[in-house]
Symmetry: C2
Subunit: 352 residues, 2 copies
């Protein structure tokens, strides 16, 4: 179910920018979909959007109040509750990525039902899921994968999607985490589904499409992150990708949140991902590497990008500094070379 | 929470042996824990246990009625409901592996609470789970992995556990699926946890132990099964295994349930599993291969076992025909060679 835009971004009483990371991401990627921000007393972060109260947001056309903030303990405080109830009165639906369900806030469900508003708890998938099948399906798919968490997988996927749109190529961005879902207005929070359904949920998220259509899928975690690798592998199989892009943050010294866990080499990460992808898609290949070089000076970043490209034999860019054109070009070239999916699906069963 | 033994195995109105697969598994591995079977009118399968009604089972000392059957549609029919309610009256707890929760059966929760009985919905983990960390922990662990689903991972793990007990080596069997949980009386149904918690749930299932203790962990699915590979990888990381055993059914022509999906070669399966295990345990290695050769004549089975052992350089047995002694010997030898876990945990961070 699609979340209605435009949004009023609700920051609550967020203590710092990190707590409002989701709201910053939504502002960065779809400012045209945001009528303003609502900050409660004590809120520290501030977006580059008009400050509006609920009546003002209603007048500006807001269709959904978006809880773009994480709260300490994941609870919805009393001060939030009054604003949420009033948002319903002001004609808005509410969407939240918190673990605590909106439906558990006293009085909210009743009022939403009475007024005909929707409550979107995007970390809890509504509707049925099926077990994944791995069966070949038409359409092209690209998945961003990572050496680690928080290395630019969503950013890179969004940038590739935007570049395809600019070229007039039919494409969708497929969101698998909360910020991405708010930006797209829909998606499946893949780490919140029951583990039996990881690949099945991904197959549902990006179903068969015409041969010339691209689904650009936001990756999650890393095959080498001991906390989340199961999610990453199920997502990789469900995505059945034609094309992969490896995302990496070159100054990371250990896996995020795990000081004892070393990062994999790029080479090991490339080969593990492509091996796993070929379980469901024999033609799967990498079409680029995206480095987040924010922590490096420009000359050092340039040299690293060039060295990495030469070593891997793949386009290597920093999507923020350089954009993703070389990756898009490689991806389209690879797709032309391997022919239509319909044809490849007619071949006899793949040899393992 | 431990499920109280002994059990009364409830077959309901199961239409065939396959529907009662769980009950047959429990009977095979812990007949001493089963006081009898309860079959309703229309039930086709029959165990090699005394038939008892609920009063008879109570008299025989049954502590838990175990729903060892899957029902069409996963619903609990009216004819079952009466038996379940009466079981509570007869002093029994109830344990079920169905997707439908016992708590959703009208009247059951209230009666259980009033009488002080427990309802175990083993496909729904109760209690909190944490994200996995991959941090080194003491104790030895062996995990059975597979080329596919239903190739003998539970059987092999149980056989290894039994062989260790016979040698007087401290060991636990760790169950990750419903039949295993009923046999052990506890465990975590790993494919039913939220995908963020696959490895964390496994770490909780087999926590740190003294250096000479072995946890023998039942594997699930396969890294090469597009429906379940995420579960298999999260389980592999959470298990942090010293030793792996590969289970395989040599006459399988495609992945279970997916006619278009070829099986991986043993070689590819060995290398993918050991690579993934080494993300969390640098010393991880295979100590054997278990083939289910039921579909082969004895001479053909013998030759295949010998050829496979020679090719892989590992002990290769059919646990049902031969037992698992060669694997246990290899596993203990490998553990002696790589020293104590406490010492290995002191080394500097592993290189990726």
């Amino acid at each position: 179910m699609k979340i209605a835009k435009p949004y009023l971004l609700f920051l609550g009483d967020a203590p710092d920018d990190l707590a409002a990371k989701t709201a910053f991401g939504v502002q960065a990627w779809c400012p045209q979909d945001c009528v303003g921000q609502l900050r409660l007393p004590g809120c520290i972060p501030r977006l580059e959007l008009p400050e509006r109260d609920l009546r003002g947001a209603e007048a500006a056309g807001a269709k959904t109040l978006l809880v773009g903030v994480v709260n300490r303990g994941g609870v919805i405080s009393e001060s939030w509750r009054a604003a949420l109830l009033e948002a319903l009165e002001c004609g808005m639906d509410i969407a939240s990525g918190l673990h605590t369900r909106l439906r558990s806030v006293p009085g909210l469900t009743e009022k939403a039902e009475r007024l005909g508003r929707k409550l979107h708890d995007i970390r809890h998938h509504e509707g049925t899921l099926a077990i994944g099948t791995g069966r070949p399906r038409s359409g092209r798919r690209l998945l961003t994968v990572g050496t680690d968490c928080s290395v630019g997988k969503m950013y890179t996927a969004l940038a590739i999607h935007r570049a395809l749109e600019a070229r007039g190529i039919p494409a969708d961005f497929k969101a698998t985490g909360q910020t991405g879902i708010f930006i797209a207005g829909e998606g499946i929070s893949i780490d919140a589904v029951v583990s039996d359904f990881i690949s099945g949920a991904t197959e549902k998220l990006c179903p068969a499409q015409p041969d010339d259509h691209w689904a650009i899928i936001e990756g999650q975690g890393s095959l080498f992150h001991p906390s989340y690798a199961g999610v990453s592998l199920g997502l990789l199989h469900g995505a059945q990708p034609d094309a992969l892009v490896l995302c990496h943050e070159p100054t990371r010294t250990h896996m995020r949140g795990l000081p004892e866990q070393p990062l994999p080499s790029l080479e090991r990460c490339l080969s593990a991902n492509v091996e796993a992808a070929r379980v469901v898609k024999a033609e799967a290949r990498f079409v680029g590497i995206a480095l987040n070089t924010r922590a490096l000076e420009a000359p050092a970043a340039r040299k690293l990008l060039e060295d990495t490209a030469a070593e891997a034999g793949l386009p290597c860019v920093d999507p923020i500094r350089d954009g993703v054109e070389p990756i898009v070009t490689e991806m389209l070239k690879a797709a032309r070379n391997c022919g239509s999916v319909a044809r490849s699906a007619e071949r006899p069963a793949r040899q393992a």
